[in-house]
């Protein structure tokens, strides 16, 4: 609440392109993957924001591959709609496009919107309201679901995996429709495909992340199927995320656990062989010896890798703070 009012005061002197008198909102639309006609998308969401009384600006960001999609927007820009279109220099992920665009946003609250319609336009003001009520990041959860059974199964399997590996409490991480204070998006890293998991990373960094139920857009009723590569990429993303969330500061705990398990398995095999050798059974024709050795060697390699990780973490530690401050310095700030 405090942030919203402060920022609004600060912005009063600036010129605002859109009509309306309410709080000011920047909407970023990264145009990648399966974009829909953007003019229709703009009118649909802009109308809802207008109705809710918000002033707004739309930023469409795209990379060279999808540049053609944004060309129809030129007519709207000419007609004076609050739209800006950016193209980055090289093929980029959604996260990279957002990171590039966030510096161009002028409003204190930023909404990210995929270039295809996932939630109804009426849901966006709900998200913004939650941010102005004090949340750092409001994440839309499409509910109730209207898409096909197959898609719902995919979604719940994905989230079960995510919950298991990262203890996530977000129930629709893939939605991509989010509203946040601008500082939050500027500070939380979004590199690569991690933009998808932004709420989890923000939670780790101590931001207040809230989930808001919004109606799913009817356009999503049709069944969506992806190539096997997409599913594999998601799986790898989740594994990478789980590692980074839990072990960024202590890689040896991860590698050491696996490594000592492997060493333990290897040495138990070798111990059994050793005892049997003492009982007179020759070693030279025991292929099991190789298995024991293999486990031992792998275990040592894992632990060595963990040590490399620790050295890197230690070397970087002078540069970062292992915490984030909510407030401080002012006596009676919390009273």
């Amino acid at each position: 609440m405090r942030h919203g009012s402060e920022s609004d005061r600060a912005l009063e002197g600036e010129t605002v392109a859109s009509s309306g008198t309410g709080p000011w909102v920047s909407v970023i639309v990264p145009v990648t993957e399966r974009p829909e006609p953007l003019v229709g998308l703009y009118w649909e969401y802009a109308a809802a924001l207008q109705t809710a009384g918000y002033r707004f600006e739309f930023l469409f960001v795209t990379d060279p591959a999808y540049r053609a999609m944004t060309e129809p927007l030129a007519a709207l820009v000419k007609a004076g709609e609050p739209i800006r279109v950016y193209t980055v220099g090289q093929s980029s992920s959604d996260g990279a496009l957002l990171t590039a665009a966030i510096g161009e946003c002028r409003a204190p609250v930023v909404v990210t919107l995929p270039s295809y319609r996932r939630v109804t336009a009426e849901g966006i003001p709900q998200l913004i309201r939650r941010v102005s009520e004090g949340a750092d990041l409001a994440v839309a959860r499409r509910w109730p679901r209207q898409d096909s059974l197959l898609n719902r199964l995919q979604t719940s399997a994905f989230h079960a995996l995510l919950r298991w590996l990262t203890h996530s409490t977000i129930e629709d991480i893939a939605c991509g429709v989010r509203a946040a204070r601008r500082e939050v998006l500027a500070e939380v890293p979004m590199h690569g495909d991690f933009y998808r998991f932004l709420p989890l990373v923000a939670q780790r960094d101590g931001y207040r992340v809230e989930q808001v139920d919004v109606a799913q857009h009817p356009a999503e009723r049709r069944t969506r199927l992806y190539g096997p590569g997409t599913y594999l990429r998601r799986l790898i993303d989740v594994l990478g995320l789980a590692f980074l969330l839990r072990f960024t500061q202590k890689p040896l705990r991860f590698f050491g656990l696996i490594g000592s398990a492997a060493c333990l398995a290897g040495s138990s095999v070798l111990f059994v062989l050793f005892v049997q050798r003492l009982q007179g059974r020759p070693l030279a024709d025991r292929p099991l010896l190789l298995l024991g050795m293999l486990f031992l060697v792998l275990g040592v390699q894992f632990i060595a890798l963990g040590l490399i990780g620790e050295i890197i973490v230690h070397l970087h530690s002078p540069g970062w703070r292992p915490y984030r401050i909510r407030e401080g310095g002012v006596p009676a700030a919390a009273a």
Binding site: R2, E183, D205, G206, Y207, Q249, K250, L252, R253, G256, L283, A284, D285, R286, P287, L289, L290, M293, L294, V297, V300, Q301, A304, L305, L307, I308, E310, I311, I312, V313, H314, L315, H316, S317, P318, R321, P322, Y323, R324, I325, R326, E327, G328, G329, V330, P331, A332, A333, A334, A335
Partner: protein
């Protein structure tokens, strides 16, 4: 962004900063602030920094009331969530303005009245003074015995002879804190890190220990595995930060020795083989596996060397502490 700078609330120049991480200590904060004030008010200009580590109870409210009572001396820093004691301590160090920093627990089991003795000891020319708790008032089986064992292990492995690593009551010189950064769960090994990373001179003095009056202990037995891993890291980082290749070469040589043993066994078994029998490849294969491990470790050592050189040659990396004569 809504943090006020230190100058806003502290007008005079602070010499001693007392930092206290708080996690769910709403009941003790008031008494703690009074006790610290009583202990510090005789000495030079001081500040007390309360670090609320994402408490779920009214700690922040109680701490804010204390701040309001003594706005010239007490400050509250609230972390965004519960980060753990190490991060809370580091936050306190980063906020502290004094040339000397004192840390203690927020549960009043440490006695702030011991702080002047700590400071006096520091004045004798030490960089770090650590309290050790005499007549500990904790449960024998779950707290004191494990702590005794842990201290022996830590002493043994790090080579730093500290009686009581678990005691939070410590006094540091700023020059030392500028060379040490805590992360993960490293607060348990501050003396070892201080000695290893900066060559700190460390002294110990006995301090009082009170039974817990409010709330419950936040530590238990469950952390042994994690502590052991951290200990290994402290040891490694300390001994091999400057020359990781040496560490990995030792591993590579051991692997090579194992390879030699199996190679010899393989040679013997091949020589002893009679005509018409199949050749058994188990020993030569094991030997090759260890040769592989040896090469792998050597290359990993080179990578580590690369990382260390790259980082430590940057400007702004501080060398070890310089010591004058102890007066």
């Amino acid at each position: 962004m809504d943090r006020c700078s230190r100058e806003d609330s502290m007008t005079t120049r602070v010499q001693t900063s007392v930092i206290v991480p708080l996690f769910n200590e709403a009941q003790t904060v008031g008494a703690l602030v009074e006790a610290v004030r009583a202990a510090m008010s005789q000495g030079p200009e001081w500040e007390l920094i309360l670090v609320d580590d994402g408490s779920g109870d009214d700690t922040a409210v109680a701490a804010a009331q204390a701040c309001a009572r003594y706005p010239d001396h007490v400050r509250l820093v609230r972390l965004a969530r519960n980060y753990g004691q190490t991060a809370a301590l580091q936050a306190g160090f980063d906020e502290a303005g004094g040339a000397i920093v004192v840390s203690m627990d927020g549960d009043l089991q440490n006695d702030p009245a011991d702080v002047p003795a700590l400071l006096a000891k520091l004045d004798e020319g030490y960089d770090l003074v650590v309290g050790y708790r005499v007549r500990r008032r904790d449960r024998l089986l779950t707290r004191r015995i494990p702590s005794w064992i842990a201290n022996r292990i830590i002493q043994r492995i790090t080579g730093v002879r500290i009686r009581d690593n678990g005691c939070s009551l410590k006094a540091y010189r700023r020059e030392l804190l500028e060379r040490v950064r805590l992360y993960s769960d490293m607060h348990r090994f501050i003396p070892a890190i201080a000695a290893g990373a900066a060559g700190a001179r460390i002294a110990e003095i006995p301090v009082r220990h009170h039974p817990r009056r409010f709330g419950t202990s936040k530590y238990g037995l469950s952390r042994i595995g994690a502590v052991l891993a951290d200990l290994l890291v402290v040891k490694m980082v300390r001994s091999f930060r400057d020359r990781p290749l040496a560490l990995f070469s030792v591993g590579a040589l051991l692997a090579l020795a194992a390879a030699a043993v199996f190679g010899a066994a393989g040679t013997v078994s091949i020589l002893a083989m009679r005509r018409g029998e199949g050749v058994t490849l188990v020993f030569p294969a094991a030997a090759l596996m260890f040769v592989g491990l040896s090469v792998y470790l050597l290359f990993l050592g080179l990578i580590a060397e690369l990382a260390v050189r790259e980082q430590l040659s940057r400007p702004g990396i501080r060398g070890p502490l310089l010591h004058g004569e102890i007066g």
